[in-house]
């Protein structure tokens, strides 16, 4: 179970989502991911830096044109869970979601997913995008 104080992170691969000051653009969080697929995250406490890097490199290699992972942005779990609609209903749930090894990807015991907890309107999506963009800190680049 992911505790409220636990830090979850999103690995970034595309410089398009990163501004010059290291903060991210709202487009990083796509409506389809929020509604259907889930926003893919990792639990940093459960990964060594080497395992995080290996995971990031494996995902980066799957890009149409292979990329280098840029780094991670981080946020406390409670901030992801603190997005409510006007009726006080939570809009996102965040849960532990370990993944098995697949063809090109190693298993990831530290994987977590944030996804819609209720049926979302387009305005709810804009709210989630805004608040996630505010909640996640600036990019922490991987050491070269």
């Amino acid at each position: 179970m992911i505790g409220p104080e636990e830090v979850v992170a999103r690995i970034l691969f595309n410089p398009q989502h990163i501004k010059a000051d290291g903060t991210v653009r709202s487009g990083l969080f796509s409506p389809t991911d929020i509604r259907e697929k889930g926003v893919s995250l990792v639990r940093l406490e459960h990964l060594t830096p080497e395992a995080l890097m290996a995971q990031a490199n494996a995902v980066a290699a799957k890009y149409h044109k292979p990329r280098t992972a840029e780094g991670v942005i981080e946020c406390e779990a409670k901030k992801v869970r603190a997005i409510f609609d006007t009726q006080g209903e939570r809009l996102l749930c965040l849960y532990d979601d370990p993944t098995k090894a697949m063809k090109d990807l190693p298993a990831n015991q530290a994987h977590a997913t944030a996804i819609a907890a209720v049926e979302l309107t387009d305005a709810d999506i804009s709210q989630i995008k805004t608040l996630l963009t505010l909640a996640f800190g600036p990019l922490r680049r991987f050491a070269c």
Binding site: F13, N14, Q16, H17, K19, R25, S26, G27, L28, F29, S30, P31, T32, D33, V59, K62, Y63, H64, K65, T121, D122, A123, D124, I125, S126, Q127, K129, T130, L131, T133, L134
Partner: protein, 180 residues
């Protein structure tokens, strides 16, 4: 203020196309219809498509005046049309021309005293305008079929709604953006 003229500089091409979109109520430019499954178009190809767009405009277009401060936002948003399938990793979609058209039309309607937004693209083909000032922020997201939605957070209080782009910008959104 920035004044469009009929010289086809890159900025003018962008703005002339936008104005045509607004006049026609949402015509889709022809350039994005058949994107190859590549990450991003080569600059020469993107330029060629811009030229095609300019040549395909239903002239004469009306002239449009808007703040110089918004020009960079226009350019960035327009550039997203070159993002093709796969631009943001496995399964990512090309940026929807409909979304970009709607976002540009929205920007043209934005009062000139508001701060310029930043353009952003998502892996499912949608685009955003985003504003931030400290802990105040706002996002307007544009989908296909002229659908759009906004959320603005000002002093810990949020306003949100969906709307049809190309119509008026919702008054609560403008009011919130003025407080950013």
């Amino acid at each position: 203020m920035f004044q469009m003229n009929r010289t086809l500089s890159p900025t003018t091409v962008t703005l002339a196309w936008l104005t045509t979109v607004m006049t026609a109520g949402g015509t889709t430019p022809p350039a994005g219809a058949n994107r190859a499954p590549e990450e991003q178009l080569a600059p020469k190809e993107a330029l060629r498509r811009n030229d095609q767009t300019a040549n395909s405009l239903a002239q004469p277009w009306t002239e449009k005046v808007f703040p110089v401060a918004f020009v960079e936002a226009y350019r960035k948003m327009f550039s997203f049309r070159a993002l093709a399938v796969g631009w943001d990793g496995h399964g990512s979609k090309a940026i929807l021309d409909d979304s970009v058209n709607a976002a540009l039309a929205f920007l043209a309607m934005l009062p000139s005293d508001l701060p310029p937004p930043e353009a952003s693209a998502a892996s499912d083909g949608t685009v955003d305008w985003y504003w931030r000032n400290g802990l105040n922020a706002a996002t307007v997201t544009f989908y296909k079929d002229r659908k759009a939605a906004y959320f603005a957070l000002i002093d810990n209080s949020g306003v949100k709604n969906g709307f049809k782009s190309f119509d008026e910008i919702p008054a609560p959104l403008i009011e919130s953006l003025r407080q950013l």
